[in-house]
């Protein structure tokens, strides 16, 4: 099982007179730096703007890494581990939902029986530490400081 960076891509979202959205995408060479990719996206936006009646409303630059020979999946994705972290700002939280959480991490004793995840389990603790020590944040840029809760949810398809 090996991971390969496929290549970066640039995408533009366009909007027409009726409000309908359309997409335009191009791929970029694999060893292109993010700065060059973003610069290319801005240049492309200008050229597309001259060539389409639609209005460009957003652009994105994406890097994708894909497993060359992925291991077969196991378990069921409907069992989700939901981790809620406090940030340094009151009222701002980071919520992470991990699909297919291993059921053996669900508490089988105590008041959290069947709901809470066992945060003392080494794998769970390692994941929590990985989130707290990494560059991660919520969609508004607030970074997590401490775990508030970790629970098990069933999210049907």
């Amino acid at each position: 099982m090996a991971t390969v960076i496929i290549q970066p891509g640039v995408g533009l979202t366009l909007k027409d007179e009726t409000g309908s959205l359309g997409q335009f995408r191009l791929f970029i060479r694999q060893n292109t730096t993010a700065a060059a990719g973003l610069s290319a996206a801005a240049a492309l936006r200008s050229l597309v703007n001259d060539l389409s009646d639609c209005s460009i409303i957003s652009e994105r630059y994406t890097l994708t890494a894909e497993e060359q020979n992925p291991a077969p999946g196991a378990g069921n994705r409907t069992g989700v581990g939901v981790f809620v972290f406090e940030t340094g700002t009151v009222g701002e939280y980071l919520v992470i939902a991990v699909p297919g959480i291993t059921p053996s991490f669900v508490m089988t004793t105590g008041p959290g029986l069947g709901v809470d995840l066992d945060v003392a389990a080494p794998a769970i603790a390692d994941f929590i530490d990985g989130v707290l020590s990494g560059p991660w944040c919520n969609p508004f840029g607030y970074q997590p400081t401490i775990l508030l809760s970790a629970i098990y949810e069933i999210r049907p398809s």
Binding site: Q7, L14, D16, E17, T18, G19, S20, L21, G22, F24, R25, L26, F27, I28, R29, T32, A34, A36, A40, A43, L44, L47, D50, L51, S52, D53, C54, S55, I57, E59, R60, Y61, T62, L63, T64, A65, E67, P70, G73, A74, G75, N76, R77, G81, V98, P99, G100, I101, T102, F105, A123, D126, F127, G130, V131, P135, W136, C137, F140, G141
Partner: protein, 168 residues
């Protein structure tokens, strides 16, 4: 009208379970995080995720995005279903086609072919195939020349239906 960066870049893992069903799992990083650093961090987090989920990780992608905070209105008569289809030859001898929504009347000839002598069309295609251009196909192969360009109408999907359809 100005493009504004979102405060964060989004990292999305795609997981697959034993039934073949896929599910995403997203995190964000501050927009100022360098892409290389974010990808490295994603790689470090991956085995920690694999320890706590029964699913397998198929891929992860990092997206930096920005949006126009005051977009100019679209040209009257514009329709995303009216596509400009641009086919390019690749260095591997294959062809790849990209579609551009809302191609205007002014660049389409009577035959339905897109006028490659039009200044805006030429600037667009040259930016993609010129020496030193960084664009490529999905396999990372360079795009070398324009093969054909034409107008094509695609069907309207449910999402493209006008939002105001009731009579006034």
């Amino acid at each position: 009208m100005a493009f504004v960066e979102r405060p964060t870049a989004s990292l999305t893992y795609i997981l697959i379970d034993e039934t073949g069903s896929r599910s995403p799992f997203s995190l964000d990083v501050p927009q100022t995080t360098l892409a290389d650093a974010a990808i490295i961090a994603a790689g470090l987090l991956r085995p920690l995720i694999e320890q706590i989920t029964d699913c397998a990780i198929l891929s992860y992608s990092l997206t930096y995005s920005s949006f126009d905070d005051a977009p100019a209105p679209a040209t009257p008569g514009s329709r995303v279903e009216r596509k400009g289809m641009f086919s390019f030859r690749t260095a591997a001898g294959k062809t790849v086609t990209y579609q551009l929504p809302g191609i205007p009347d002014g660049v389409v000839l009577q035959s339905g072919r897109i006028d490659d002598d039009n200044l805006a069309v030429a600037a667009f295609t040259n930016a993609i195939v010129q020496a030193g251009a960084i664009f490529c196909d999905s396999n990372g192969v360079d795009l070398t020349s324009l093969k054909e360009a034409y107008e094509r109408y695609r069907r309207t999907t449910r999402k493209m239906l006008p939002s105001e359809r009731a009579p006034d």
